[in-house]
Amino acid sequence: MTDTQSKELKVQEKQEISSSAEQTTPGLVFTPAVDIFETEKEITLLADMPGVKADELSIDLRDNTLTLTTDIASAGDLNEEYILKEYETGRYYRQFTLGELIDQEKIDAKLIDGVLRLSLPKVEKATPKTITVKAG
């Protein structure tokens, strides 16, 4: 009997970055889960970043390297006592190298419900020119 319900979500532990270089501000840094897919016209990147507001996120693209960084400005201490703490909060950081040429003017970023949707349109490839040889 096949189950028509969608499968149950399993817990995915937040991946923490253990880098040798020290961060300037103390705190944990996590790697967000991303989906990257590519069509003919553009590359789309979807990243899970719950609890991040649009002004805390910085996206940097230079030299074919794409860097996503968040800065939790409002982390402040809660005036509450912890009874159960199953996940940690912290900043997010992830870096990618892009092989394709990206049209930087048309990059579009949307942060909805804690999911970042980054559209990177590819540079339109120059149309191949055929060169006619004149007989002379």
Binding site: Q5, S6, K7, E8, L9, K10, V11, Q12, E13, K14, E16, S18, L28, A33, V34, D35, I36, F37, E38, T39, E40, T44, L46, D48, M49, P50, G51, V52, K53, L78, N79, E80, E81, Y82, I83, L84, K85, E86, Y87, E88, L111, D113, G114, V115
Partner: protein
């Protein structure tokens, strides 16, 4: 039989033979606790992971649910339990798209959280913002601490 000779060895006492195993296990636990990287524990191992905090007046339940919309989420309060369930959908991609990476998952989730004290089921407030769910559950009046003045 050289009784005295045997008693001097520190590990040989008149207790269960599993003492040695308990000692080794305790040392292994201490070994893991010393690491500076915080050990990640999944807690109940059920999605979503939650952080439960409290102050004098209410309990706060926080969960990270990126990509879940408010109407896809179902929250119920029964006695002292809070039930959170729903489905996380991932939008279908255009035809002919090629995946380079696929790390995010979609699926259903359901979790029941037992709160440690009596609560007031009429004053429960849930907010889903930026993929972070915060549920504020007010404690029942009898469960709030009351100051008692001492007369001398």
């Amino acid at each position: 039989m050289n009784y005295r000779q045997y008693v001097n060895i520190p590990t040989w006492k008149f207790r269960s033979p599993l003492d040695e195993l308990y000692r080794i296990r305790k040392q292994m636990e201490e070994l893991y606790q010393d690491s500076t990287v915080p050990t990640q524990r999944a807690g109940a191992g059920v999605f979503p992971l939650i952080n439960l905090t409290e102050d004098k007046n209410s309990y706060y339940v926080r969960a990270e649910l990126p990509g879940v919309k408010a109407d896809e989420l179902d929250i119920q309060v029964t006695a002292n339990n809070l039930a959170i369930s729903g489905e996380r959908k991932i939008a279908a991609v255009a035809e002919g798209a090629r995946y380079h990476r696929r790390e995010r998952e979609a699926g259903t989730f359901s979790r029941m959280i037992g709160l440690p004290g009596d609560i007031n089921p009429d004053k429960v407030d849930a907010k889903l913002k930026n993929g972070l769910l915060t549920v504020v559950v007010s404690k029942a009046e009898v469960a709030k601490p009351k100051q008692i003045a001492v007369s001398s």
